[in-house]
Symmetry: C2
Subunit: 324 residues, 2 copies
């Protein structure tokens, strides 16, 4: 896993993934106490950065192997990314999703042409289930983060950030990334190491699910106690990836922790000031940039808005933060 | 008013206005019955395309004249665009706004550093009021659409659409534009004439405020009967501009008319499928593309999402369309 793989992924993604802009607002700068920029990956195909990694993995596969189809397990955003990338490669996709995933994500994944198989998040082992089905049908498993070509695809976000930060005249900045298993964070960290040495990646996680922050502090992988209890479903993972953790440990600044309420408030401000839609987990990095500026370093801060696949009811709850 | 002025405005806007991307979703293609793209000008600075025209006008002014300050009248989006463009040029701005404009737009305009003067939309003549104040204080009036440098600035949207459509392989398409006084529509029409002859601009207006559509049909300027009664406040104007109408008459396809309900439904789908925030008037073009496809021509359709400055309560009403 290295920078060259990210640059190669960027070539494969060109014309297929969207180059998302860098957004800002003087109102958000005021709250953050420094120049604040948002990289709105909610505007990516399927509403999250996950399409990058899925396209990278599928486009890197052997043609005959790809033709047999792919399988993925995901709380929703990776599912949609793999489903659309598979459909555009005209190969079958099976997606294993937790039965408590947002209804919108399950419906979207099916509508994008994938076969969806639901499992119980608390009772069943999704890894074992995925391995069994992929063996039975000859499918290739596309893991959500512990897979080099997936990390390479997510890392293309970091290449764009490096170029866009340079255009904005940013020399030093923390780049805060909503972090589940660490694929996006590790990929961005590697891209910044090579292309923007003044920029440093830092993971943001919901309170109670700060496995990456604690792992970075301990110097070894720590697990979360619970597997449910936050509205940030997109970034609730049991522990950092075996492959992503060493990269994050070498390159990332300290982890940041935000509350569910701060995520909703950040998403409300993104609605009001940037006109974008973020899901709670996709607003974690922005929440850290806005409300934990005392722990942030640099002339500017860049927050990755990792996804926007939020049910209307949850977004209505988000909007209520503006009248609090 | 010609293409060269738009190209010159594009040079002045470079590095100051945002190049907005072209967004799409397979779910929206299905509804529209063809490839559908949205140009999300809600992501522009101040949440609407109006910043382009304001920056163009201010940057084209004589330095001594600009230093005395500018004045504008607007239901809100032009106001915010002029306020921010003036602030970034470090010159004073006075904005005359209708007293029934959304509270958010009035508050934003003040927060961007402008002096706001309110007037009664039904009883007072905003043109006379603006002329009086600008004479008293030596301010330069920046009209919202009947001003060549403003049209030139809005037209830069069309230059971007031409290049982005080419990159998407689009050869023929209707480019539907939310239309009030016609500055954006006329500017885009001129840009497309020069840079994308297979693309045709068409105005979209709310029912009851279809003065441009009727004017195009009649071959002369027609007025609206009412000045209130739609939620599309951003594009409610008494009649097409004296300067914009001849351009639209020469270059535009027939006007399209949409209901308030269709605008809300389109904004709800833009939330769900594109993760962007549109105000009702900013969703009129998308509503026409989605729900009036039988009146649209071309391999693809491009809808300009002209603005996203919507109050949270109106957006909550928008989200309710998804459970209808």
């Amino acid at each position: 896993m290295n920078l060259a793989m990210i640059e190669a992924a960027a070539e494969r993604l060109e014309g297929h993934a969207r180059v998302t802009p860098l957004l800002s607002s003087p109102f958000l700068d005021d709250i953050a106490g420094r120049r604040l920029f948002v990289k709105p990956e909610c505007l990516q195909h399927t509403g999250s950065f996950k399409f990058r990694g899925a396209w990278s993995a599928l486009s890197a596969m052997d043609v005959a192997q790809r033709a047999r189809g792919v399988i993925a397990f995901s709380s929703g955003n990776h599912a949609q990314g793999v489903a659309l990338a598979a459909a555009r490669h005209a190969v079958p996709a099976v997606i294993i999703m937790p039965s408590d995933a947002p209804a919108l994500k399950i419906a979207n994944t099916r509508a994008l042409g994938a076969e969806v198989i639901l499992y119980d998040r608390e009772k069943e082992d999704r890894d074992a289930l995925g391995a069994q089905i992929s063996a039975e049908r000859g499918l290739t498993l596309i893991k959500p983060y512990d897979e080099p070509q997936v990390i390479a695809g997510q890392g293309t976000t970091g290449l764009e950030i490096a170029a866009q930060a340079r255009a904005e005249g940013i020399e030093t900045a923390d780049v805060i990334v909503c972090c589940g298993g660490g694929g996006l964070t590790a990929g961005i960290a590697l891209a910044l190491e090579g292309h923007a040495p003044g920029l440093r990646a830092r993971p943001a996680e919901p309170a109670g699910f700060d496995d990456v922050k604690r792992s970075l502090e301990a110097g070894e992988i720590q697990r979360n106690a619970a597997m449910a209890g936050s509205i940030c479903d997109a970034i609730m993972t049991p522990q950092p990836g075996e492959m992503t953790f060493p990269i994050m440990q070498r390159l990332c600044g300290p982890g940041l922790v935000v509350t569910d309420d701060e995520c909703l408030h950040a998403a409300a401000l993104a609605f009001l000031r940037l006109k974008i839609v973020l899901e709670p987990g996709g607003a974690a990095a922005l929440a850290a940039a806005l409300f934990h500026g005392d722990k942030v370093e640099g002339d500017a801060v860049i927050a990755v808005g990792s996804g926007g696949n939020v049910d209307p009811a949850m977004f209505a709850r988000t909007l209520e933060k503006l009248s609090d």
